[in-house]
Symmetry: D2
Subunit: 478 residues, 4 copies
């Protein structure tokens, strides 16, 4: 099958899927007043592939002449990783700082599963996975990944919870498949994709067999129900929400109410030893994706800071330069580290993966300083961020002249307010809060990133050097 | 006149004042769907004085038997400052972390004007001010302060701006008063008060006479127009906005369109040398008020952190304890410093004022770590902050059971979601952004606070000690 | 006995005590080239009591006419705590930023033991302790406290160590006393005091009886051996070490080689349940002392910063003002918090103790920002800190004129170098490193301080407030 | 001439140069008890070139068969920059974390001069420089760079100083050369090199002609006098100073007392417009060198942290892992950024120079977090850093057994003390202070690095993106 158009993609979402939003069943996610915005945002991925300016980046042509979305290209080395990073960054920039994600995360999951299943000698699972991969690639499908279990009491393991369903599990084995029950939290884009891949969310041990399962199903599978979050609801004033009135991503509580999964869609089941490796490997791939798609937001921060300082007439103040320099340094450190992670990519089982330590360092650097960036931008912008006019004010004939007269800075009021509202949207209103929480929690917490760094740091060299300086022989003291 | 009731206060706001909201003229600020919430929030001040539990704190009884709102008590020493701080903190706690402010800021301005006018020997202005003070106190009036000019290009002085109206100024002197033109930005509570006090916003020099003016007028004065910000618009879902659906404060762009001010309401005019002193002294008083009213928010942060850790079952994790300890230390440092500022209060012209260095240290400490607190709370709460259900979901019969089953933690889903939504309201949604921007900009920026610290630090002792240690004689090297 | 003079104190140290320094036995600690400096520094305590300017602060006169060192005054309320703090601060300022400590820490230990023994109903131990207290007070004795065990492998409890002596323990019980063996690390001032009080260093449990012991012995007790650290060795150039050439404190590895302790000097033995309470209570008292004696160092930092900026001619630079403001804010926050800790002091068993949460908050605030202060001072001072001339250069006739010509700033070379060398001594050379390590480790680590804060924070109020805001009933979720 | 041996190099330093140390004239810098250590440290550069393991890195063989020190290779692209960085890092690692610098900094100056003179069309100066370059390269000479003027009052320009000599200047023009007077501060390695290159230290304007001069002279030129700092004096105990007892670098106050410089050694004179460009360009090259030579120190920090945690038995504590992870992240961020700076190197006038923004970002990242690293290492090591035994204690027969028994951790006492002493040397004693001050001041202050970042940041892309998001057209608002 050829590459799909945006229209074909949207048409594919009208399949009877069971989606709930603000307490009600949604008939058609593509025409719904709010969810439709998210669907059209997702469609940017397909538009990109149609756009001559981005075609080379967005499409892969194999030697045999076949052509498919570049997201599906299995990376074979640093160049592929770099190209993948650039593609994700470019698409996100087109998405107004909001990632598209309908192929990014799914292929992260596919590559991670490929590697772990190959390494573990899980031949049957690997064959099923390869078949599913070809199905998605050749059908130019969009994918969500449901990983994070709802988890209940975090101090307890799956089998210790009061309700065993608090981690998704197999409740019945049938000759032709399995039946699963449970719920996954914050599944991004689920209402706007064709297929959902399910992965375990943590390491498992003996006794955790029912929870050690991975599979994929179409979104309209019976028993699969999506309860969509409305966090970005109400961002309909284009004046004050220049980004979030046009770009949305929807997360769902994804409930599997005794969903039947046919055997050919089960990648593994009942295998605790594989569950943890998959959970971890997926996140390793996915954090590389994550940092790649954070870059446009950080660039926007820097640009907003420079623009706002100019609009307010404060560019020459020492503390303003200090903040602008910090913002630029922050953005470029994250960008630099993710470029290095690609460059240091290593090949295993035929798949190149970005360097784990460097990727996590990049992600952690991004996450730990994000709120400082918010503070600096809010500082540069001024109190008008929360006391400025609404779009209705701007449109009102009796109000706009007042605003034009009194809200100018070194820039005219219109331009200055446009920049203020952009900063407000990115840092002070719902979308700002959304990005702030994603910075901390998406793709794993800061604690998880630090743990990954700790585990992947090649301690030998530094340790050996310290021991030599101390006059001691070599030894591994970690 | 006796103390007014909340009903009397609200009735007083129905006086034909010219208020605009979302592009339209507001007929009655007390019954308007959104502004009415702010009016009722402001009325908490009057309810407090009626409440036996708070009466002693909220009312002042003079030896002559007269009784008036304790906000109007001129502080005569540390005890009065402490009582004032406690009153402000208590009222804000009743206001759900949102300051009431309809008497706090106005009396800050009155006390500051009293001190500067007395010190400067401005007898006539002082008499007018005292008369106005008695009018407000005896009428139990509510007050707003319009200080911050819209300022245009920040790199230019008032007289250098392209439009001289970008700082409020006197455009005409008449035998019985003055006519003023200009606009003040982010005037808090203006639609919900009886009188507006106008102060200059910066130091002035020779040539700045027209901009060196201070006065007070009733809000329904002809030519005075309030353009209200709608930043907290749309926070109507009580489930996800437990605080901001019930508590609002409104800021206005306050436009003086050739407003006539009778002489007896003009405190000074054409006096640059007084303008700067008033601007600064007001802020010194007001930062003490500000830190006092930040305390309930900080306490809420600590309490939310502890509660959320329990609800999620993560209280025993090391990094969780670290964050909770940090939050408690942050809140208590700010509280401790403002207590010290009161204790170190000094008397001048019969008015006690909190120690300037310590007050600014408290405010700066509050402001510079605020975004860290946001980050920690968001970290403790989890991604559900932005992917959780809406009130409509919770009310829907087909959805709530799913949420109850799957969104429980170590607490039941209802309680856990209540705490999550509180944190979301305080840190991630509009009210959180509002508080974040106020932390940075209200009562002066971080830079202004540092400058005040630098100027008020009594360097002599530390410098003398360093010189002695270095074997040098004493000298002032500052 | 009357108050002792400095000479009497020094004479008392010549008692055959077994002290080792740089590999050799020290004959007389008062005349030794390096240790003598420490002895004379310690004597400042006695000089202070003789100095009319400090007499009132340094001496306590009881209603019965008896007079003794104010360090021995049992605090009965906030006023006593404040006076104690001021005394410690004053003595340290006289000591050139270096604490005297020969009565401070010992009385901390005595007060802590009094409280715990009284609370625990340990009548016999309490009587012995009271007798020892009177002995010290009436004899105007100086005291060291040996608490920190050498600890071996930190991941193991006392009874799990390969060598049971790695925590000090009772090896023999005799009718008239006990025999102890073990070593305590970094005992401050041990060579320069009359008596050493031994305390356990951690909580103990069942099975830890031999390690649960507390007692006091004279320093010249047979079997007690002090191995003195030479960290401040070589700071003999008064030009570059204006402080540390004149002021030293000595820490020892304090070895108890089967030392016999008579029964009347044993405060408790074999009581694990008391051991932990004593260890903790001592540290609570001692951190209050610690913060009190850090203040002169912080004042010196601020004063050095201001002076150095003047000397270099950089006082008007924005980043310089920023750093000076930060330094002042840091010093005053620590000072403010310790004043509050005194003010919030609580009485138990007749002894006032400073508020635990506030004391630890003060100490943690001091410790966590200390290295930032070092950085800022080094930044303000300039590279000459490590490339400047030696005292020999300054004394050399052929060199000094060159230095005078070329090393002047906005100050003459002599004064500028004096201030540079003071900063160098305080931040860049051995004494600076000494203070840096003490900031982190003395009186417990930052982790210990945070743990104390976590445990002592009165969570109820904040938690209750958060629950009310969330619409939940009250409950303790900690 | 062939590559010189270490012996030949040392022999070359015995040329009658006028060096003062601790107030006395030094006869022979190679045999002096303390300076000799610095000379032998410098000689590591020559040993490296003789060492088969490093020969390929240390030597450059040109197509014409000529062979010379790789430091003299003019970089032509990213590969050369990377190789140069690796060479500097390797030599520094051999130097025990202390840079060698006798060719690094000199070639930085030569390359910077080449670029600026070529760009400015200064043909004559460029020819003289090329001749000098060949002289140094072919003679395998060692070089120092004297740049930082002593500067006097920092608030004044050269011509405003009370004494015009406070910036080095031309006092006489002769037919065959110039006579210069003045002093340069902290010239590294001056006593141990063959030639000194003099550069201006700041931008100059009209009227600053006498101070706008650059030249090179042999160290034994008459009138050139070196006053060496003794900061690392006294680090002779190999037990407690494992690094600084063996490795030293010497800075001098470098005085030009009417030194005659022949015309062929004058690169430019009386040209203010060139002075600033040279000062800046040199620093751009030199910061790349600087970050390269900081890496071994950072690696040592990480290794010491890991080793010390193991030695103390605290590797499993959460806060310990947190600190180790931070240290590794810090080191690798700096390393990653400097690799990127090389990779992004740009060619101009035939010379590749590292990307300015990225280089400064790397340097600033290194410098701003250095004191945090010190704190973490001191925290991990423990109080024994300042209370531990001396080398004399360890050697004493009566003391060592006590230390062996009581100062063991999870490691034997000997190994644990070796690691403690290494950390003490690197962070707590003189060498630690030396490195701390270098981190802040060497190669320009943090403020200078931030200014360089601000100026070199390519703002257009981020700004354009922000403007597009805000719905505004493109414009340069910087």
């Amino acid at each position: 099958m050829a590459i799909r158009t945006a229209a074909q993609y949207l048409e594919g979402l009208r399949d009877g899927r069971e989606v709930y939003y603000r307490g009600e069943r949604v008939e058609d996610v593509t025409t719904h007043a709010e969810l439709g915005i998210a669907a059209r945002h997702a469609a940017i991925d397909f538009e990109l592939a149609e756009d001559p300016a981005h075609r080379d980046l967005a499409l892969q042509r194999d030697p045999d002449g076949s052509e498919y979305s570049a997201y599906y290209r299995v990376p074979r080395g640093p160049d592929d990783l770099r190209a993948r990073s650039r593609l994700i960054e470019t698409a996100t920039a087109e998405g107004g700082t909001l990632v598209i994600l309908i192929k990014e995360i799914g292929t992260d999951a596919l590559f991670a599963l490929m590697r772990v299943l190959a390494r573990s000698g899980e031949t049957e699972g690997l064959e099923r996975l390869q078949a599913f991969y070809r199905h998605c690639r050749d059908g130019d499908l969009s994918l969500a990944v449901a990983q994070t279990d709802v988890k209940g009491d975090r101090s307890k393991r799956p089998s210790e919870q009061d309700d065993p369903d608090l981690y998704l599990r197999v409740v019945e084995e049938r000759p032709d498949g399995i039946v699963v029950r449970g719920a996954k939290a914050h599944t991004s884009c689920a209402p706007n994709v064709d297929e959902i891949i399910v992965l375990p969310s943590r390491s498992m041990g003996a006794g955790d067999e029912p929870w050690s399962v991975s599979f994929a199903v179409p979104v309209n599978t019976p028993g699969l129900r999506l309860y969509a979050a409305d966090f970005l609801h109400g961002t309909d004033d284009e004046f004050v929400y220049p980004v979030s009135s046009r770009h949305k991503m929807i997360e769902t509580l994804t409930v599997f109410d005794d969903v039947f999964v046919p055997s050919e869609r089960v990648f593994f089941s009942g295998k605790p030893q594989i569950a943890g490796a998959v959970a971890l490997t997926f996140v390793e791939f996915h954090r590389f994706t994550a940092v790649s798609y954070k870059l446009p937001l950080l660039d926007a921060f820097v640009g907003c800071g420079i623009a706002m300082a100019a609009a307010n007439g404060i560019s020459r103040a020492g503390h303003v330069r200090e903040k602008l320099t910090w913002l630029a340094g922050y953005a470029e450190t994250v960008r630099g580290l993710i470029q290095l992670a690609a460059q240091r990519g290593q090949l295993e089982e035929g798949i190149a993966y970005p360097d784990v330590f460097t990727t996590n360092l990049a992600k952690w650097t991004f996450a730990r300083d994000f709120h400082v960036a918010l503070e600096f931008l809010q500082d540069l912008a001024g109190g008008l961020l929360v006391t400025g006019p609404s779009g209705q004010d701007w449109e009102a004939a009796q109000v706009r002249p007042v605003l034009e007269k009194y809200l100018r800075g070194a820039w005219p009021a219109r331009d200055r307010l446009a920049m203020l509202n952009l900063i407000g949207d990115l840092t002070t209103r719902a979308y700002g809060g959304y990005q702030a929480v994603l910075a901390i929690h998406a793709e794993g917490s800061l604690e998880a990133e630090k743990l990954a760094m700790y585990r992947s740091y090649p301690a030998g060299e530094a340790l050996g050097y310290a021991r030599r300086l101390a006059g001691l022989g070599e030894a591994d003291d970690r």
